[in-house]
Symmetry: C2
């Protein structure tokens, strides 16, 4: 008999994940959505094997339940269906914050495993219409297992990461995840938004290049989702914003004082750090480079 | 008889431009480089029709001389060859700053036209090995003509922009160019560099997603080139950095005070601005979206 992965929420991430998971081992991929038109879209586009509007109907049969909604909805699902999950099954999610999710998962009864998950992939577009199975290619797949999570479930997450095309599986604690993600993800969104707040923004049409588009790309974000992500991690995020303010200010002071020796030294220092950190490789390949 | 475009400097931009210009109307594309190995590479890869190490040999025959070097070298070329350019010919450049270049071009004798040019394209990789003819596809092609520039030369720049695949031709003054570019380009580099200055950078490997890679991409910059670009425009750049500091700080205060109504209002405001400004279209298409 086929096993079942229930994917709850077929938005950008859930839709892409369901589509990426199709054909995974001997699992049937079952989508759960709230609106009939999303269900119709999912079936027409072959995003999952089966789709339903009734979570309560499929959760009890799920071997894996993948909660692919915003954090508050994940928390609500955990509370509402805590007694419906199959004993021995795995529940997981895709949220960009993990401490609040892991805490909420403590409502699950003993015997229902929970492993927090955050595939580091996304675009600035939400909804099923923008989902595509290759979204995760080359991305990091971060998990935050419980101390009691079974090795079988951790291994299963590893095979899922591999199947959907992630570059690696990174296991960490929820607290460490949230501390780091404040910097590598949330701060990038604060930057993009702040750049767009500049009074000159609309006067600059016709003068944007790749750096402007890349830096501001994620500013076109899903407000209710990002409101949850940012405010659930506000303290860690505040700390990294303070550090960024200091680093930007140091550049400004060097420029303002026409301290060009200092500018040169700083350019060398920062660009060396970027080169040591990462340069394009799998997952960073851009269309530009493919033209060659 | 064929007309001649001399491209001086076959780095990322010059190499890409020469390659993109091949076959343009009845022009022969002649490259000028400093090192024999660059000349060999250019010929082997068909980057231009002809290549020489001797600028003085080809400049007097050029109908168009395209100076594709860093600003200080453009300025040095203008001084050194001012009497060698063909009367009636057009001299232009590709620098990311325009006021200093247009001032330097005042050394040219009457009868030699100069139109400043800045194709808004690039990658974080320099040198001929990273050049490719499609670099300019979908980019804005900015020109800063003199008041005395001929319509024939302005029209020629328009046909060049079109031929190399730029999305449009934008004509402005050098002062306005430098003011805007401080925001749309130089500030993006200050941000990317400042993000990489964070003490936690190297501890965050494994946690980077698309937003981090996009935001920091340009930090891997060519230090001598960017030192010139930033310091030649330091005052305008200082002003936009101050504005960014204020806008980032406003986000930080809202987060620090857990003022979530304010966070929501700000997210809505900034993301609306981004959507009004631009969303992916030609030139913003990414490999991710091509997977579909």
């Amino acid at each position: 008999m086929k096993k079942t992965i229930v994917v709850i929420g077929l938005g950008l991430i859930g839709g892409s994940l369901a589509a990426a998971l199709k054909g995974f081992e001997d699992y049937e991929i079952v989508g759960v959505v709230r609106r009939q038109e999303t269900a119709d879209y999912a079936l027409e586009h072959g995003i999952c094997d089966r789709v339903t509007l009734d979570a309560g109907e499929v959760i009890p049969q799920a071997d894996v339940t993948y909660l692919c909604t915003a954090p508050a909805t994940v928390i609500a699902y955990l509370r509402e269906y805590k007694d419906a999950f199959q004993p021995g099954s795995l529940v997981t999610d895709v949220c960009g914050i993990k401490t609040a999710i892991m805490e909420a998962a403590s409502v699950l009864p003993e015997g229902v495993d929970f492993i927090g998950c955050h595939p580091m992939a996304g675009t600035e577009f939400s909804k099923i219409e923008n989902s595509f199975p290759e979204l995760f290619r080359g991305s990091h797949f971060i998990i935050t297992p419980r101390e009691t999570s079974t090795q079988a479930h951790i291994d299963l997450m590893g095979r899922i990461a591999d199947y959907i095309g992630c570059s690696d599986l990174v296991s960490t604690t929820p607290e460490r995840h949230d501390e780091i993600i404040a910097y590598t993800s949330q701060l990038m969104h604060i930057i993009a938004l702040s750049v767009c707040d500049d009074a000159e923004l609309f006067q600059c049409k016709g003068f944007e290049g790749g750096s402007f588009r890349d830096c501001t790309r994620v500013a076109a974000l899903d407000v209710p989702l990002w409101n949850q992500l940012l405010t659930l991690n506000a303290d860690a995020l505040t700390r990294v914003v303070v550090r960024l303010e200091e680093n930007i200010h140091a550049y400004r002071v060097a420029l303002e004082h026409h301290d060009y020796e200092r500018v040169t030294a700083k350019l060398q220092y920062s660009s060396d750090r970027k080169r040591r950190m990462n340069l394009p490789g799998p997952g960073q390949v851009r269309l530009e480079y493919d033209f060659k």
